[in-house]
Amino acid sequence: MAPGNALVHDLFTGLGILVAAGVFVLQKRYWKPDDRIWIVVAGALVGGALLGRLGTWVQHFDLRQNASLAEQWLYGNRSILSGLVGAYFGALLAKRLCGYRAKTGDMFAPAVAIGMAVGRVGCLLTELPGTPTGGGWGVTTWDGVPRHPSFAYEIAFQLAAFVVLLRLRGRVDLFATYLVGYAMFRFAVEFVRGNEVVFAGLTRPQLFLLALAPLAVWRIGRWVRNREDREARDDGKPELDPARAAEAG
């Protein structure tokens, strides 16, 4: 990546963060008036930044092939997938530390989607876009080979996700919906992204997503149980489980 490309990439990353911050603040009417939300934001950003930078550290099964911590910090790849996981756990930890009980995922999800759409423009303009394709929509870069514009696919996905998330507000758990949707999309797009295939025909991001699948199932299961408990309460029926009802409240 040439220096000019690095600046273009950074410009769009910065723009993506600004747009995400703007969308987050515009949703202020959905917040409970509580300053502790900023502690949760800080936790999410710190978790996302740390794991985004260190997430690709242990990438070889033979541990001797992995970089040292200092090398990873300085030269290692950045990963949006591990960054999202870091942001999720950073927000959870911050909520525990400051005692903030309200749900926050619904405020983060649309902001993350639109921020990613803008940030990926930088990737589209500066990185090798994907595997070679014979389709007319392939983009040709410096090597003269038409390739899948995988970052353009992702920008389209993120924009669609942003619109859908705004429409689904209040009906589903937006953050879980977004994470599951993005995980499925990313798993599929990895087949044309051009990343190194490391095991069983799968790339590292695909293996990472497979490893996280049980967490997604648990998250969705918890949301479904909480919704059932709420509906049972609303119908005046006895609660399914007092412990779970307390958790849902």
Partner: protein, 125 residues
């Protein structure tokens, strides 16, 4: 019961610890300070690499890495202390948020500077 059209929602109760509500301006100040510090680590590394003899890119990376470590410790410690003990916690939270945002952006700028230093020494032909 009727409600006057001039009725407005009451102010939320003050937090129990007696802290003032966070002022956005103070938080933006903290974010600006942290982002400025990130840029400073790159700028200092660049200037040192240009003024010292030897391999410029290696010198830049070493100085920038030391700067980043110092910045990480300073930002997280000062940010946490100011967030907990500060008047409203705004500057402290801003420093932590700004440090994290800078962490996301700064590596690519650093990489660009590094490539330009290598290029200026004629290593790319």
């Amino acid at each position: 019961m009727t409600v006057s059209p001039n009725w407005t929602p009451p102010e939320p109760p003050r937090p129990a610890d007696g802290k003032q509500p966070i002022r956005p301006g103070r938080m933006w100040t903290g974010i600006g300070l942290a982002l400025g510090a990130h840029l400073l680590t790159i700028l200092v590394g660049w200037i040192v690499a240009l003024t010292m003899s030897g391999e410029a890119a290696f010198t830049f990376l070493t100085v920038a890495a030391i700067g980043q470590v110092v910045l990480a410790i300073a930002a997280l410690v000062a940010g946490t202390i100011l967030a907990v003990r500060g008047r409203d916690g705004g500057i402290g939270l801003g420093i932590i948020i700004g440090w994290a945002v800078g962490m996301i952006i700064s590596p690519v700028i650093g990489f660009g500077v590094c490539v330009s230093l290598v290029d200026s020494q004629g290593m790319f032909g």
